[in-house]
């Protein structure tokens, strides 16, 4: 698959597969297009070349109605939660149910409370999103993402900015949801430690291609400079520390002109 933004290629010849019922992580340095990959998988943007197949459905040339039907089988957890700020926690989780089903109010209430119980926030049902901490916001967003019992669950940077307790809770939830519901999970992150605790398989992206693929353990001993730099957290390597710039001393000694 290939994809470019304003003529600048983000992916070229990218080839990935996400097995059913497993947690597959996508890692890579910032700016490698991890979030763009999620937008491609959810059909928010379309690939320029090649094909993307989600749950047997080819996304190229897919009709809007079919894409929406497919999206009902997916859940996505956004980096900042993306809760609807004018709705309470309860209404946020109930939102997909109200939009896509004609279930009676009593059943909606039971389903929402069940999902909130699963993320430990049944007691926060009446709070507004502005009253939640970062970790709680993400758990509510997770409850909303699973309320329609999706087959595929996509996490965009779920560990960013969480305190150790919230981090532990989210890690446990991701693993538990995957094991209990048999969901196919796609997890985009650059947190090496957390990924190695939860993922079954890892893709490491670099330069618009897959630089490495394997289990988290296999990646630790992968014979590649970029993988060593990323997994070891080294400041300099194939991904340079410095943004491309003219000669340092030359620029310092230049007389004020830009």
């Amino acid at each position: 698959m290939g994809y470019a933004i304003s003529g600048r290629p983000v992916f070229a010849g990218l080839d990935m597969d996400f097995p059913r019922g497993r947690i597959t992580a996508v890692m890579g340095p910032s700016g490698t297009g991890k979030t763009t990959l999620l937008r491609l998988i959810t059909g928010q943007v379309l690939a320029d070349s090649g094909s993307i197949v989600v749950a047997g459905q080819e996304l190229r040339g897919v009709k809007r109605a079919d894409l929406y039907t497919l999206r009902r089988r997916m859940g996505m957890l956004f980096q900042n939660g993306a809760l609807l700020t004018d709705l309470s926690v309860f209404e946020n989780v109930a939102f997909p149910l109200r939009e896509h089903t004609d279930l009676p109010e009593r059943l909606i209430r039971q389903l929402v409370l069940t999902k909130l119980q699963a993320v430990g926030l049944r007691g926060a049902a009446e709070l507004m999103p502005s009253e939640l901490s970062g970790g709680m916001t993400r758990r509510v967003a997770l409850a909303r993402a699973i309320v329609l019992d999706p087959e595929i669950l996509i996490y965009d940077e779920p560990f960013v900015g969480l305190d150790p307790i919230s981090l532990g809770v989210i890690l446990r939830l991701i693993r538990h949801l995957n094991d209990a519901l048999g969901i196919t999970s796609i997890l985009v992150s650059h947190d090496v430690q957390e990924i190695s605790m939860v993922a079954d398989a890892v893709f490491l992206l670099s330069g618009g291609k897959v630089a490495a693929k394997g289990t988290p353990q296999e990646l630790r001993s992968y014979p590649s400079e970029i993988v060593r730099q990323f997994v070891g957290g080294l400041a300099d390597g194939p991904v340079p520390f410095h943004f491309p710039a003219p000669d340092y001393f030359g620029e310092l000694l230049a007389r004020g002109e830009k």
């Binding site: 928010q44 999206r71 997916m74 809760l83 609807l84 700020t85 939009e99």
Partner: protein, 255 residues
């Protein structure tokens, strides 16, 4: 030569922009019948755009009416026809000041609120989240806000005019001593249905224009703090110019 080519490019860009706005409007109109079925969602937006603008509209209507009473009385007295104050105030308010000032105030209060709300929803991924949840944000978020504004505007303009006439009466009759009977009877005799129609058509057109500009700017805002700020500013400026432009066109059409 350079100037000509720049002007040409700018003209083409403006036309492309106008085309995008018209396409957006057509999409909103196409989605409107289904959105109207969600009465609770529409009612919420009429409340947001209309009821929450009531205080500013009523206060402004009262003051504008009072100024009309004062100025009108002073002017008509020169010709010895201060009894015509009711007619002058009513026609001025119903045909012109009611719809125009209401629309300008609407753009400043409800328009900016709509644009910044939608812009922030985009900046915080709320619109993307809806898309991923297979909910069309245009249908669920944009159309109800657009319709809320379109429905609220004529109601607000009517309230503005009524309060304005009361304000003119307050000054003209209660303070300046114009005869109450002549004030009301002359107004009833000379304000016709065509005057009311003109005001109604204006407020409907302004309602569509202001709501469209606000939701278009908000929905297409660059998802940054600066982008949302710019979208809000553009909403007010574009709305003001468009309101006055259409005001001239409709006034000319009704002559």
């Amino acid at each position: 030569m350079n100037l000509v080519s720049e002007l040409w490019t700018s003209l083409i860009e403006s036309l492309v922009g106008l085309g995008a706005v018209v396409r957006f409007l057509l999409r909103l109109v196409a989605e409107s019948p289904r959105a109207l079925l969600r009465v609770d969602v529409i009612a919420q937006q009429i409340y947001n755009s209309g009821a929450l603008s009531l205080v500013i509209i009523m206060l402004s209507g009262l003051f504008v009416g009072m100024v009309l009473g004062l100025q009108g009385f002073e002017l008509l007295q020169r010709f010895g026809s201060e009894e015509a104050l009711g007619t002058a105030a009513a026609i001025g308010l119903v045909k012109e000041l009611g719809p125009v000032i209401t629309a300008l105030l609407f753009a400043g209060r409800a328009g900016t609120a709509l644009a910044s709300e939608l812009g922030l929803m985009r900046a915080t991924d709320q619109l993307s989240a809806m898309e991923v949840m297979a909910v069309d944000p245009i249908r669920r978020v944009v159309v109800p806000r657009f319709l809320g504004g379109v429905i609220a505007m004529p109601l607000l303009a009517a309230i503005f005019s009524v309060i304005g006439i009361y304000g003119a009466q307050l000054i003209g009759v209660q303070i300046m001593g114009v005869d109450a009977g002549s004030f009301w009877s002359q107004m009833r005799a000379s304000v016709g249905l065509s005057d009311i129609n003109e005001g109604f058509v204006k407020s409907c057109v302004f309602g569509v224009a202001c709501s469209l500009i606000a939701v278009y700017e908000g929905y297409h805002a660059t998802p940054t703090a600066e982008g949302v700020g710019q979208a809000t500013t553009r909403t007010v400026i574009t709305s003001a110019v468009v309101i006055l432009f259409f005001d001239y066109l409709i006034t000319a059409a009704f002559l």
